[in-house]
Amino acid sequence: MQKRRVIPGFSLSMGFTITYLSLIILIPLAALFVKAARLGASEWWEILTSPRLIAAAKLTFGASAAAAVVSTIFGLLVTWVLVRYRFPGRRLLDAMVDLPFALPTAVAGITLTAIYAPNGWVGQYLESWGIQAAYNPLGVFIALTFIGFPFVVRTLQPVMEDFGVEYEEAAATLGAGRWIVFWRVIFPMFVPALITGFTLAFARAIGEYGSVIFISGNLPMQTEILPLLVVSKLEQFQYEAAAVIAAGMLMISFVLLFLINLLQRRLNWKNH
């Protein structure tokens, strides 16, 4: 299918793109997997089943999943309000949704800690109910919800904006109440976007570092997350162990990314 190309620059852009991609992304990532593969299966097993790693993995995946669920619920509600209703301050609210994307994670980390610490703006009220947020798994969950929330809104928003009112009108004409219309007609249309948003939030949360390490307290076995464990292995010059944990995290992230792509592709087929 050799076709003559009208537009120039194929070789130049191909050469530069592939070279740059290889140097900055592919070769370094390959080096990581090679480093990890140098260890035998028994050493992998030993690293991946150490109690400290299992505790960190439980906290990371548990808090990430919980945060992604809450982000999804909040995200659905906020997106609905932003898309369907008109009220003063809506544009400001819409712009603010991106704050966690734009705010450097270290800043998010220290300010969330300041708010949820026992003497902080929110922390003091939680404290009087006997809840300690900062330096606890709850703090990790709060930071990850902050980070994950915009993913759900920004995934759902375009879908909701394109969703016409015809279906709702049809359902309403057929006698369905508003509540039924929402759950039976509107909500099912948003499920794929919600799943995608959830997965993006979850995947981001697993690797999140800056916003979590200040609020978590970083106690091994209790409030230590996986990325921090990688850093501490590195600081003890255990390069192989760090590479093994990182390789494991990467494989999980890639599987999640792959699942999202699969879901998006199936949806595109449906639409055409």
Binding site: R5, V6, P8, G9, F10, S13, F16, T17, L21, I24, I25, P28, A31, L32, F74, V78, W80, V81, Y85, R86, D94, A95, M96, V97, F101, A102, L103, P104, T105, A106, V107, A108, I110, T111, A114, I115, W121, T155, Q157, E168, A172, T173, R178, V181, R204, I206, G207, E208, Y209, P227, L228, V230, V231, A242, A243, A246, M249, L250, F254, N261
Partner: protein, 279 residues
């Protein structure tokens, strides 16, 4: 404004939902932002200004500007080149390339730093060779730059690809047929069409480059006055319990975030275009 009740909620349900959404955003997003400024000014203006007027803060700001000044233009060049390749041509492996460009989004910042330590660190692949030739990459500026490049890699490309895909290449083809050279087409036809998207991508790339923490923290070594970027300087101050100073420096980064969001909203308003960027 009258609403047809069949396809809308009753007024009180609407008010309730708006109230809940405003509460979520206020408590979850605005409160932390307000806290940055409140903590920074807690001990007054003098302390705030003194914290910024410090040698270590100056060198951190300088290093942040240098790192972003190198990595953002390079990633912009890459973004334009990748977007040109992907939207103007059809070739085998095109969708694989698209997926690979997104790859850094799936990589934890810590791992983005780790890969460079494994390559260039004292015990890394090229470590002994670098030591022999007295070249420092890890715990020095080059490491900070390459780690920043890794994390900010996809931003410009992600912004340009959907934009250039929808614009098609009819105009470019017409220009070529009329006798324009490749570079003329790019600068006279393509660039004016994509300028807002490009600006926007560069802006997001820059915000992330200046604010990056995890990846840079792994490769920097935290040498005060030498290899601390602004986010790392904030961390160091915070860990030394100099909270007011930490938050004073954090206000600079928060301000950068607000400016980024402001320009983003303005560009969206001007062009009616929504970001496809998710990080």
């Amino acid at each position: 404004m009258r609403h047809c009740s069949a396809i809308s909620e009753s007024a009180w349900v609407r008010r309730l939902l708006i109230g809940v959404a405003v509460t979520i955003i206020s408590v979850f997003l605005l409160l932390p932002l307000a806290a940055v400024f409140a903590e920074a000014f807690r001990k007054g203006w003098e302390i705030f200004l003194a914290s910024l007027h410090e040698e270590a803060a100056f060198s951190a700001i300088k290093l942040t500007l240098i790192a972003a000044g190198i990595s953002v233009p390079l990633n912009t060049l890459f973004g334009v080149s990748a977007a040109w390749l992907i939207t103007k041509f059809r070739f085998r492996g095109r969708s694989l390339l698209l997926a690979l460009i997104d790859l850094p989004f799936a990589v934890s910042p810590v791992i983005a730093g780790l890969v460079w330590v494994l390559l260039f660190g004292a015990k890394g692949w090229f470590g002994p060779w670098l030591e022999l030739h007295d070249i420092r990459i890890i715990f020095a500026l080059p490491g900070i730059v390459i780690a920043t490049m890794f994390v900010t890699f996809p931003f410009v490309a992600r912004e340009l690809i959907p934009l250039m895909e929808t614009q098609g290449s009819d105009q470019e083809e017409a220009a070529i047929i009329l006798g324009a050279s490749g570079w003329q087409v790019f600068f006279r036809v393509t660039l004016p069409n994509i300028k807002w998207g490009l600006l926007y991508g560069v802006l997001l790339c820059n915000a992330r480059a200046m604010g990056e923490f995890g990846a840079v923290s792994v490769v920097s070594g935290h040498i005060r006055g030498e290899t601390n970027t602004l986010p790392l300087h904030v961390e160091v101050l915070y860990n030394e319990y100099q909270f007011s100073a930490a938050f004073a420096c954090a206000t600079l980064l928060a301000f950068l975030a607000l400016v980024t969001l402001g320009i983003k909203s303005a560009v969206e308003h001007l062009t009616g275009h929504q970001s496809s960027n998710h990080q």
